[in-house]
């Protein structure tokens, strides 16, 4: 197919805010990052057709799924969309075989089914019921069920939210592998920045129903642009500022005057500093300040140091290191000060 594109432009009035999302997807993998309750799942459900927006247009590879201007609204059954629910939604009354085959219609190819079983490493589990499977096996069945009928787009709704760390990391790898071979679009909704970073070529950041950032994942992480985007991509230190001149600002929350490397335009209201970006310094170094009154907390693989002025500093360590002397002064490279607007 020549022009593969997913267009989504929807509006929906919700209880706490109004959802207004507009994007086009040409690359394979999109992430929708945002805090809980910001409208991410609602967007996904609208694409699948299990929820209807108030107005807008949704089209996939030229086929119109939803168009409020001419009352087009394809039923979810008619949209070639796969939806991976957070709890997998495997049918408890059907075996693994039956669950996977259910989307294939009456006269399905038994060879195709065995091929899918093999591809997802489910051999031996065909006659088991979902409750007899482990979390990882359940995810594989849920994915197999979707991939079996070859959807054009796969929607993943916070796939790892409800599990412990070990299982999460194992399943992330498995999901990544499964998606490698998948030719269509995938959209993953998450509030976890690591997942967004790991899986998605492109990112949309959603807050209270509105898109506050859109673009290449690496770009958004390096240059968040807005305060809320910086927060969601894991920037722990954010302060309101007063502009001193083109390359100098005063941080109001931390009481520091700092030099920055990018020109400060008038719309800049905040700065952000990632917790890992500090380094030990001498009293008169550029952007140096003292660490009097700091508290240090030992974590398994890093030291967390909270400074008296409220800044967070994270310093990597090994598991067996238990001693750390906080240097008298630390500094921040002007290149690592992120300029932000509200």
């Amino acid at each position: 197919m020549g022009n593969k594109m997913l267009k989504v432009n929807i509006q929906k009035e919700l209880k706490e805010f109004d959802l207004d999302v507009d994007f086009e997807l040409k690359n394979k993998r999109l992430g929708i990052l945002g805090p809980s309750g910001c409208g991410k799942s609602m967007t996904l459900k609208s694409i699948a057709g299990i929820v209807n927006p108030d107005s807008g247009l949704i089209s996939l590879n030229g086929t119109v799924y939803f168009d409020s201007s001419n009352k087009t609204n394809l039923k979810p059954q008619k949209r070639n969309v796969g939806y991976l629910f957070q709890n997998y939604a495997l049918f408890p009354n059907m075996t693994v075989d039956e669950n996977i085959a259910i989307g294939l219609g009456k006269d399905y190819d038994k060879n195709h089914l065995s091929e899918i079983i093999k591809r997802f490493h489910l051999n031996g589990l065909e006659k088991r019921y979902p409750r007899q499977l482990s979390g990882g096996q359940q995810q594989r069945v849920a994915l197999a069920r979707i991939m079996a009928y070859g959807p054009d787009v796969i929607l993943l709704d916070e796939p790892f939210s409800a599990m412990d760390t070990f299982l999460k990391e194992q399943l992330r790898l498995e999901l990544l592998n499964s998606l490698e071979d998948f030719d269509g679009f995938s959209i993953m909704v998450t509030h976890n920045r690591d997942e967004a970073f790991q899986f998605c070529d492109e990112l949309i950041v959603l807050d209270n129903g509105k898109v506050i950032a859109k673009g290449d994942t690496y770009q958004i992480f390096e240059n968040p642009g807005k305060v809320q985007v910086a927060r969601l991509t894991g920037c722990k230190n954010i302060s309101k500022i007063e502009i001193i001149d083109d390359y100098h600002v005063k941080s109001l929350d931390w009481g520091l005057e700092l030099e920055v490397s990018k020109k400060v335009s008038p719309n800049i209201t905040h700065i952000g500093i990632r917790a890992h970006d500090f380094s030990s310094a001498r009293e008169n170094d550029l952007n140096a300040f003292d660490t009097l009154g700091s508290t240090k907390i030992e974590m398994p693989f890093e030291w967390e140091i909270t400074l008296a002025n409220g800044l967070w500093w994270k310093y990597d360590k090994q598991i067996h290191e238990h001693e750390f002397v906080v240097p008298d002064y630390i500094k921040i490279d002007p290149k690592n000060i992120i300029l932000l607007e509200e």
């Binding site: 699948a48 299990i50 979810p76 059954q77 939806y83 939604a89 049918f91 408890p92 009354n93 019921y129």
Partner: protein
Amino acid sequence: MTDWSPIFISMKTASVSIFITFFLGLIVAWGLVKMKNDTGKIILDGIFTLPLVLPPTVVGFFLLWIFGVRGPIGSFFIDFFAYKIAFSWPATVIAAVVMSFPLMYRSARGAFEQIDSNLLDAGRTLGMSEWKIFWKVAFANALPGILSGGILAYARGLGEFGATAMLAGNIAGQTRTLPMAVYSEVAAGNMGEAFNYVIVIVFIAFIVIFIMDYATLRKEKQWRYD
């Protein structure tokens, strides 16, 4: 010489009415679960639950009002089919269905509503028709609740007295069901005869309870999440 007709009449009435109540209850329950208008839902739920809450004789009063000789449906049947519903055997079925319907409806609706809505949505995204989703996902997973509702409704229909007395009367050999036969025999002072009927009813009751517990236990064991 014991008159066995109440047993046959009760069996006939109970079997026909459970057949009607079961499917009617299922359809109405599913319809209400899928309904989007919240106010409509509450109002309809009230109407469908009413026979459970009202005294049976009051329900019987309303049934007479509708199906009686001067009632809208009753007079229609007399005019067009020359058939009098009140005080006939079908009246026992009508009374049993109306009185047992709320139990079937509420059990089925409760069972449907306990199903994870993600399952239904998953079915839709997988391309299953609404009909297939109803049978293979909703009905299949709600089966324990539906079955126990059906058995409760059956028992209720079998034990119906008040509404049946009002609409079907207590005509020996025609509309005198087991519960009414007990009443009539006690009223006539025949405690011995009454006791015979009582034994039959208690026996049936135990069988019903046994089936109910066994069937629902088996179904729950099969698929339930651990």
